[in-house]
Amino acid sequence: MSIAELPSLPVTAPLFQRISATKKVEVVRELSALLGARYVLHTPYDLMLYEYDASIDRSTPDMVVLPATTEEVAEIVKIAARHNVPVVPRGAGTGLSGGAIPVYGGIVITFARMNRILEVDYDNLRAVVQPGLVNLHLSNALNPQGFYYVPDPSSQRSCTIGGNVGENAGGPHTLIYGVTTNHVLGLEIVTPEGNVVQIGGWTCDTPGYDLTGLLIGSEGTLCIVTKIIVRIVHLSESVKTMVAVFDTMDDASNTVSEIIASGVIPAAIEMMDQMILQAVEADTHAGYPMDAAAVLLMEAEGLQEDVAEQVKKIESICFKHQARAVRIAANETERQLFWAGRKNAFGAVGRISPEFYVQDGVVPRTRLPYVLRRVGEICDSYGLRVGNVFHAGDGNLHPLILFDSQIPGEVERVRKAGHEILVVCAEVGGTITGEHGVGIEKQEEMALIFSDVDLRVMQQVREAWNPHQLFNPGKLFPMPGRCADIKQL
């Protein structure tokens, strides 16, 4: 899914120069002495895998390191600081905004060896994990005892909790339970000076500024996380998953607004439009109707009494808005099938288009009908096909714009359409990213929702903690002009 070109922007002096071959040899030697040669990758063949994530940009690191301990991470950072080589932390590389792309090369730290669950305390409902732990592996470990970890990005089978912290990841079930930041109480971090610092803790209301809250979602630009203390919760007694089928997008969006306004907050409300349905059905055979304009996938969770009541209410709202049919999963197998369709949607789209580009705007839920119409119009005007599969309950849109980079000029049209969609989101009081992050992708769009003052104030934080941008340089904020050496590899 990569766009092979980048737009030409005015060039200013880059924050970092690519390191020279001689310096690289020296840094590799130091890192190898620290970690052992097998945990320091530096040949073009080994590095290629780390030049991209799930976004549209790419840039090759000079070295990739695989530390096993916090102390090793701290030492890596000190070596990097001494040689003035930028450091970029990387989870599983599933990020959609370029957060793990080493814009100026340098050292990528990958946490594949720091992937353990260190502690689980069921009395106090806490778990302590290393950043490289795969999201789903935590819930899998907790399930037998009847517990789980709530945030569930669609990539949860591969994405890491460290990456989730970096991006403040969400997922379908965050509608009622909140996103990553609502489930993390404490962190162990390594600062750009190489200090190991404990932030927050096991208990709540730690005196002082809420640094945990500030660091979550800072996209690797302030610190490197080496340990995470999370809240765990009991599995629900009853889960009912339902699919409602609509003949118009407007009916489906109005249904979402009314469900929220009625005071029912289901665990998840996901929407898929016709294009996505057709792709998903061809791929997963979940039983979605291919001729429908839109489908809502909804889940009610909790005590069986509450769930029964919610399902009834949701059903009646769906029918009030001309739902053609409402189907409730009869059993766990069917429920998993419904969700498989949704969670594999991005992959399924790969069957009908060589490439696609996902946007991540958020709008007030009441503006969904208008914004979805505008998304359609914008893509039409560029002659592009678009599908929508998204967290409707949060107003978090994910338009998938299909394209083929072999067609001259198509990539540029995709970028423009994506930008226009975000302009619409901003105009109706929304935001440019709900869960994918800013990274490289949306640096310029930050100016759509934040004033110069707003942005300056945010940058004070980076100035306070990472003034030389040793960590993940050149991200998050609009750049005076992007450096030229990205992509020259």
Binding site: E167, Y209, E435, V457, Q460
Partner: protein, 444 residues
Amino acid sequence: MAELQAFATNLGQFTPAMQIISDPDELRNCTVEGLLPRVTVIPETVEQVGQVVALANQQGLTLLTRGGGSRINLGGIPEQFDILLETTRLIRLLEHEAPDLTCHIEAGLTLAALQAQLATKGQRLALDPPDAQQATLGGIVASNASGPKRLRYGTARDMVIGLHVVQASGDIARSGGRVVKNVAGYDLNKLYIGSLGTLGIIVEANFKLQPLPANEHTLILTFSSAADAMQTVIAILGSLLTPSAIELIDPRAANDMTDFFGLNLPTNGYTLAVNFEGSSTAIDRQIDETRLLARKNSALLSDDLTGKAQDQFWDVAREHTQGSVTCKAVVLVSQIATYLQVIEETCRHYELDSAVVAHAGNGILYIELRPSDATPRLVEAIAELRLHAQGARGSLVVERCPIDLKRRIDVWGEPGADFYLMQRLKQQFDPKGTFVKGRFVGGL
């Protein structure tokens, strides 16, 4: 004083309508920890707040912000400050987007006033700190105030989706926005929440709201020991049940509540109050199951509260977190029973009395220590209690105490190893120290 003269003159020119109090007699009502401001200003608009701060910053004056004043004594004693800025005229509900379950308010609006307006559309802000009549939303956010229902709904950090904050320069910066999900840029909302006005003045806020529950019911249980009560709490937390609040009240606190407020709580044991909200069928079942769990853990009595009696009970429980000397200790939930013993022993040793009300499901204990004038003994007892709280992976903050005691202790406790990171933030956000220092952790 020349700076102050210039300040007042300039301010008068810029914004003639703004109320400025400089009469020494009137200022006596504006003291904070015995300190008299040189001038009090009460802006009518957020822009005026910006102008006041900009002028103060230019003239090198210091400023302290006050909302309704319910938590004005939280924190250390401030350094002498020049200007007291009151937000109490910024009281507009700018927008209640009911179908979106969000609202946008000015910071001086009180919680009670907001709830009354939201209730007309069947909604509420799920924050329940004490003093809803007096406490402003800006103050609640700036001091991270919360109440028993944080167990289910969380705290300000789980509900604030956007803030407008006047910076030390006087510029107004926005963070977050008005949608419920947003990861654009640093999450500065989290930084401002609980920062006690040391980084900026919150002038507007956007919140995520909740529908009002259809029903509410409180189960009152009594246990002969704290250990039994806490076993029950741990069993509830690890079960399917979804209580909105779990409050533990020790015998002396129960006694206070009975004496002063006419509640009829058993005073010979530990009271556990478990609050449920939602549909009546689900509540009924949860009450039954909670009773069963309680019985397994040797509960002695149980009683039900609904309606007015229930409201009164929770009002009184909330108010009990605000005594003359109130320590907020946070420990692991599994350590609460042990910690209650530590409190007993420590008080016995220092010849003090204690009364405790705890948000038991969150590990938060509000410990009232008496007598409030036993300063030297209180100093030692607090130090000991803090040490034990830290040993249970927690902390202890003295939220309220007489000024004599405050002079002798650090109400927040020693800052941790992350303090230098906080200092650097303060330095970046407020390099000239316009927002008066001394109140926050480590004197920030």
